[in-house]
């Protein structure tokens, strides 16, 4: 019996046997996808033009970085990333601090706040379309009643539309940030605060010298997760503006979709896909390294 438990080879075989079905499924799923985009990214294939695929070498990749519409999508995604993550981090921290107290209905407050996170993104997009409605929506009505604004074209004004999408992302994901930071706050032992108190630190000093540094791992995690999700943002953009007006709200995913399924430029779409995959691989490798250091 002792022999059986310590048999390394047997143990390994057993482990592989259990793990392999899932891994085979993943390989069958992923291998053709990777093969397809890598191969086709070197070809000129346009389905609307009846002509056989033509090998073009790196021309598609060279075109990507000169494509003003791609660069515009990159910029829009970048704006959402930078503003989304910073606003959500600050607002999320404030909410986490407010929740990290003893008060009645604490559980209820957390549950209510958490509801937006999982709402179907298409539903969220539709719902904000009602809220943003220029003439009959509640948002302009409230702004008007408070004498803040005469009325804003939330989704039709090219200089506003991207920020309207930002607001939807903030609405849906700030609670997620807040709950992660709350988990971080709750894991800080009380003794740490007591020690800081004994040392005569003011609450502000304690916050900046004790609380914030201890929250750093959680902030890193939040930033990584939000980066991944905002990088692939599609649904709310598609529902609210479809990338418009013009290309003012086009993100990377929306632009890739347009190239593939409106212009049917399969070769170029594949090159776009490879570029985005490489960008995310960098993020994934950072994440794996950080996770390993943690545990």
């Amino acid at each position: 019996m002792a022999d059986k438990t310590s048999s390394y080879a047997g143990q390994r075989r057993f482990a592989m046997l259990m793990g392999i079905p899932a891994l085979i499924v993943l390989l069958i799923l992923v291998a053709p996808i990777l093969f397809y985009i890598l191969k086709n990214s070197f070809y000129d294939i346009t389905l609307t033009v009846p002509r056989p695929p033509e090998f073009v070498g790196g021309a598609n990749y060279a075109a990507v970085f000169k494509d003003t519409r791609f660069l515009n999508a990159l910029k829009n995604t970048g704006i959402l990333l930078v503003l989304g993550i910073s606003i959500q981090s600050i607002l999320g921290l404030i909410i986490a601090l407010l929740l990290n107290r003893d008060f009645r209905f604490k559980r209820l407050a957390i549950t209510l706040l958490a509801i937006p996170i999982m709402i179907t993104p298409v539903v969220a997009g539709f719902n904000w379309r009602m809220i943003y409605n220029e003439h009959f929506g509640p948002l302009n009505f409230i702004l008007n009643a408070l004498h803040i604004s005469e009325g804003i074209s939330w989704t039709a004004d090219p200089s506003v539309a991207l920020y309207s999408i930002l607001i939807v992302d903030i609405w849906q994901w700030t609670p997620f940030v807040a709950l992660i930071l709350l988990a971080g706050l709750q894991s800080i032992p009380k003794q740490v605060y007591e020690a800081s108190n004994v040392d005569g630190a003011t609450p502000v000093q304690t916050f900046f010298r004790v609380t914030l540094p201890l929250l750093k791992p959680m902030f890193i995690l939040v930033i990584l997760f939000r980066t991944i999700w905002i990088f692939k943002i599609f649904d709310p953009v598609y529902i609210l503006t479809g990338g418009g007006p013009g290309t003012s709200t086009e993100t990377l995913s929306v632009y890739t979709y347009v190239e593939g399924f409106r212009y049917w430029r399969i070769g170029y779409t594949s090159a776009l896909a490879v570029v985005q995959l490489m960008m995310m691989t960098v993020v994934a490798s950072v994440f794996v390294r950080l996770m390993k250091r943690k545990g």
């Binding site: 397809y36 996170i117 009602m130 509640p138 700030t174 995690l221 599609f234 649904d235 593939g260 399924f261």
Partner: protein, 277 residues
């Protein structure tokens, strides 16, 4: 005494602030809800109607029966249900195997995590071409298969984190008692990770239920899921706000159940097990 008073005021201020914040986050949820109980004309009314006056299920009936929304609800249920079942079964074994025996090393972890991080739009063109060749466009298998791309790695990773929480000694004891490895897994470990399996399955279900991009491209009429059906109604030249709101409530049910009933595991799930919460 004054200090005590001051502290009380401060707490009151914090509570008010929190209520304002919660109101901001809840208002859109409330807005879907009232929308489903409004007459058509009330959507084009100024000032907007903030409280429902029509307490009937007319909008629900109209969208599900007359517009054929029921079909998309069923499609979503079938696709999300089968995807959840297959992904969960595969992930129980794989998550256990990787979590307990730590094989595969960094490369395997990296492979699985990259799948979770990759933008789905990358896979859309290749999958579309493949499904067209295999005549799978507008069928359930196309959606069930493509959702594996993110749901299977997710479920493996989450279940693995629950397996890692269990001390190895529990299983060792069973082995010493004469259990085979598989029996030890089935009789000892599986019951202990069951909460993790349930949580993982719920997330997988909601992700499949909410998915939009793949369903938008891989379906036409027969296999249209709820989000695609909703999006189609928005695209029409006359937006049926009341009907859409009713459908939106139905679409939100699984998400709300997940948040309310499994709040404890919400963050753990969304961070693939990285934050235990």
């Amino acid at each position: 005494m004054a200090k005590e008073e001051k502290k009380k005021h401060k707490e009151l201020l914090y509570n008010i602030l929190l209520i304002v914040i919660i109101a901001f986050f809840m208002f859109p949820v409330y807005w879907i809800f009232v929308g489903a109980f409004k007459f058509k004309g009330q959507f084009f009314h100024y000032p907007p109607v903030f409280f429902p006056t029509m307490f009937s299920l007319a909008n629900f009936k109209a969208v599900l029966v007359q517009l054929g929304g029921m079909r998309s609800v069923l499609n979503s249920l079938i696709v999300a249900g089968l995807n959840t079942l297959i992904a969960t079964v595969l992930a129980i074994f794989a998550g256990y195997s990787i979590g307990r025996y730590k094989w595969g090393g960094d490369n395997l972890s990296f492979f699985i995590l990259s799948l979770l991080f990759a933008p789905p739009v990358v896979a859309v063109t290749p999958l579309f071409t493949m499904f067209r060749m295999m005549h799978l466009i507008d069928t359930y298998p196309a959606l069930i298969w493509s959702y594996m791309l993110f749901n299977l790695p997710f479920a493996i990773w989450l279940i693995k984190s629950f397996v890692e929480d269990l001390p190895e000694e529990i299983e060792m004891a069973a082995l010493v008692d004469g259990y085979s490895r598989f029996k030890a897994f089935r009789k000892v470990t599986l019951p202990l990770i069951l909460p993790g399996v349930v949580v993982s399955a719920l997330f997988v279900f909601v992700f499949a239920w909410n998915e939009f991009l793949f369903a938008l491209i891989f379906t036409r009429f027969n296999a249209v899921t709820l989000p695609v059906f909703i999006s189609g109604l928005i695209g029409g030249h006359e937006i049926k706000w009341g009907l859409l709101s009713a459908l939106s409530i139905i679409a939100s049910i699984p998400s709300i159940v997940l948040v309310v009933a499994f709040q404890k595991y919400l963050i753990r799930g969304l961070t693939f097990g990285a934050v235990k919460g």
